[in-house]
């Protein structure tokens, strides 16, 4: 049974949401991926570094969520459910490392939805971008994810 993907979501922007980076979360994340880099884990090494404090690993922003949003709503709007999803691609662009104690404002947008038929059947590709701005509204990082929906 083919699932119809709601392409009218292309261009949809979501309400901006703040994320305050906690020191402990950076360390938990680094340990979860098994990266013991002292610039992530050791406050003294961070303080003595050019950053003045520990920094987050390059993929840390994947943990950012709008805690007030209904995370299932997006899949419902899209016309699918989690059992059909795969993470296809991911990109991070980092202009300045994320750091503890900072509050960032995230803005997420659906930039594209397209379909392809390959060896494993028909799939839809949902491309989402999130910009991450600091307190002075300067963009410090962006992330772009491609979610694959098996139709």
């Amino acid at each position: 049974m083919a699932t119809a993907i709601n392409k009218s979501l292309i261009g949809k922007e979501y309400p901006p949401y703040p994320v305050t980076v906690e020191r402990g979360k950076i360390k938990e994340f680094a340990r979860a991926i098994g990266d013991a880099n002292p610039l992530y884990l050791d406050d003294r090494v961070g303080a003595a570094s050019e950053w003045g404090d520990v920094i987050a690993p390059p993929t840390f922003a994947i943990t950012f969520r709008d805690e007030t949003a209904d995370s299932a709503a997006f899949l419902r709007e899209l016309g699918t459910d989690i059992s059909r999803l795969l993470h296809g691609e991911q990109e991070f662009e980092i202009f300045r490392p994320l750091q503890p104690g900072q509050t960032y404002l995230c803005r997420a947008k659906v930039v594209d939805i397209y379909e392809k038929t390959g060896r494993s059947g028909s799939m839809a590709f949902v491309v989402r971008e999130t910009t991450i701005a600091d307190h002075s509204n300067e963009i410090v990082a962006t992330m772009r994810g491609v979610t694959v929906v098996r139709l």
Binding site: L39, E91, R150
Partner: protein, 132 residues
């Protein structure tokens, strides 16, 4: 030497990153935990979140270039990583450029499992200091 400072001047196209071996993947690292659900979804059982492999690839880059040097990292998730898999991350310098006093090194990065199947392929760009 791990975490040694790498200078732009000393990097050449074709240089290879030291391989980073991660694993075997343990149960707790599988963020997709429900085997029955995963089988019913046609995925042949539980598997690791792609972001685990991408985290490994990020570490392979920063172990070489230093934490805080990554300007860009993008990957395609090419194959699924499962329990007990051993993931080896590799990379190679494919380009160098300087613009406005910023020195960029472009890398091809990938990760493969114990059967030499690529599970992640991608690109990274790092900013490196110059000796002068």
């Amino acid at each position: 030497m791990k975490y040694a400072k790498v200078y732009f001047d000393d990097v050449n196209v074709g240089d290879e990153l030291p391989p980073l071996v991660k694993g075997p993947i343990q149960q707790i690292q599988l963020t997709h935990q429900d085997d029955e659900f995963a089988r019913a979804a046609g995925m042949g059982g539980v598997f690791a979140h792609g972001m685990l492999s991408m985290g490994f690839v990020g570490q392979a880059v920063t172990d070489w270039s230093g934490a805080g040097t990554v300007r860009k990292l993008n990957v395609r998730f090419a194959a699924i990583v499962r329990l007990k898999d051993v993931v080896t991350c590799r990379g190679r310098v494919v380009g160098k450029s300087s613009k406005d006093d910023v020195n960029l090194v472009e890398l091809e990065v990938w990760a493969e499992n114990q059967r030499a199947e690529k599970v992640v392929t991608g690109r990274a760009t790092v900013v490196l200091p110059s000796r002068v």
